[in-house]
Symmetry: C2
Amino acid sequence: MHWLIGLDWGTSRLRAMLFDGDGAVHEARSRPWGIRHLPQGGFDAALASICDGWPRVPVLAAGMVGSRQGWREVPYVDTPADVDALVAGIVSVRSADGREVGIIPGVRDGIAVDMMRGEETQAIGVLALRPELRGHARLLLPGTHSKWIEVRDGRIVRLATMMTGELYAVLREHSILGAGIAGAGASPAGTDAFDAGVREARDSGSAGVLTRLFSARALVLEGCLAPAAVPDYLSGLLIGEELRAALALGWVNAQTPPLLVGDELLCVRYRRAASVFQLAEPDTVADASAHGLWRIAQAAALVGQSTFARGVY
Amino acid sequence: MHWLIGLDWGTSRLRAMLFDGDGAVHEARSRPWGIRHLPQGGFDAALASICDGWPRVPVLAAGMVGSRQGWREVPYVDTPADVDALVAGIVSVRSADGREVGIIPGVRDGIAVDMMRGEETQAIGVLALRPELRGHARLLLPGTHSKWIEVRDGRIVRLATMMTGELYAVLREHSILGAGIAGAGASPAGTDAFDAGVREARDSGSAGVLTRLFSARALVLEGCLAPAAVPDYLSGLLIGEELRAALALGWVNAQTPPLLVGDELLCVRYRRAASVFQLAEPDTVADASAHGLWRIAQAAALVGQSTFARGVY
């Protein structure tokens, strides 16, 4: 039984997990050291600091750390991609303090011309946790860039990026829609204004939500929407659009909503939006990153087959 | 024959036109004194300065100067709105130097919950210039906020705002799509990258362009789009989406494109996008603001019926 250090190293955060030999997370740490916000000393210093006091065990990393702006550029693996393809694409880098860090490749969808880094590991984690989904599943990983991932026969076959979170942020911070509402943010659980935004997107039909975006301003001018409620309404418009588009593309339907993967705070608004669309309630999977790192480490023989894992995979 | 000073007073610019008694623009001036960028002394000082040396003749203004953040809030006139309704809604304000300034009301579409200030005057100008359009027309006024205006029997009956220009600006300046392309801007006439963006929007079908927005990044990562071409591609995506949505809503069709109203530099890209959609080539009307101000001044009896105007209206 070997222990493992798993890294989820994105653009804005570095998360580190120390796994025991059974694949359980013994300790987790998180720092604001995304690849664009590294401490002095760069990648080496960040790794040494976040692993301080941990045993010298294999290190496996996923995320933007493998991008052109990362520690080492790791070529994408093309769809369809399974665990073995990801393992074959791992590239190692040696840190200043002599650790070998394996970096998991991202996945590229050459047909849709789209790509991801980090989310492929979450998708593998979902399949490890929920093997019944290996046959077919649509995963939705909400975030700055939401990723929609289609899995078939245990392989990632399609992916699509929706810039929902980033659109929300730039419109909230830099457009007329955010004028005069100071620091007001969207409420975590959603509100009536959120639901109204979702309905507006849903009812925009094939024209789409950009024909309704200005309503976030017009309703305020009309006195129908409180300025403080604009962030919730805007969030509803954009999350609603994501679901409207997914329905238009046949990615999901009323009986088979997407499986939500990720932080509960993000997923709760998507579940609320799904209910406005009268979709069946989406299931949610948490901690997919940790499970994906452990599963890939197993397939790479960085760790043994744990008792825990043996039953599951 | 009376002379007239007409003001097109928007958010970012103040344009002043001195009309002679025939409705011809004797002199035009423009300053960066939009209602959010007034010189010291505010509205009074801006008016006195831009009219310096001009005769003391009636002043008629259109645009955001009549908004809540303007000189005097002028209540919107509801659709359907014609020249007489606009004239009836004019509110006057007296300047510090004793000029009476009539401010033309904006128009509100109570069904779509949308509104405009300034564009109603352009629409009236279009009908003055092109009386054959009074029966039915779809006008498209491109800009930060594009306005789509439907005219029927000489009245503004519907309007819709598309935030195309503002979306372009916030995505270009503040999102990942603009990363690493420094000061590169979109080329005035459009390029192959612009056409590619328009096609991507056109082909997004009922799902809409937000499902393809990330392609502006993915194509760069794939080496299929030069970073310097991203502004053109993004502009094509967003202008293409505007046309795609308008087609989906039945606002226009292949035989009847919108009538383009406004600055030639903005209209040229829309004409190019229309050709990618294989629409009939849109007609363009310039100087609609000046013609609208003169037409409304006539209807308000601020000026007489000019020889020029008599034949046209």
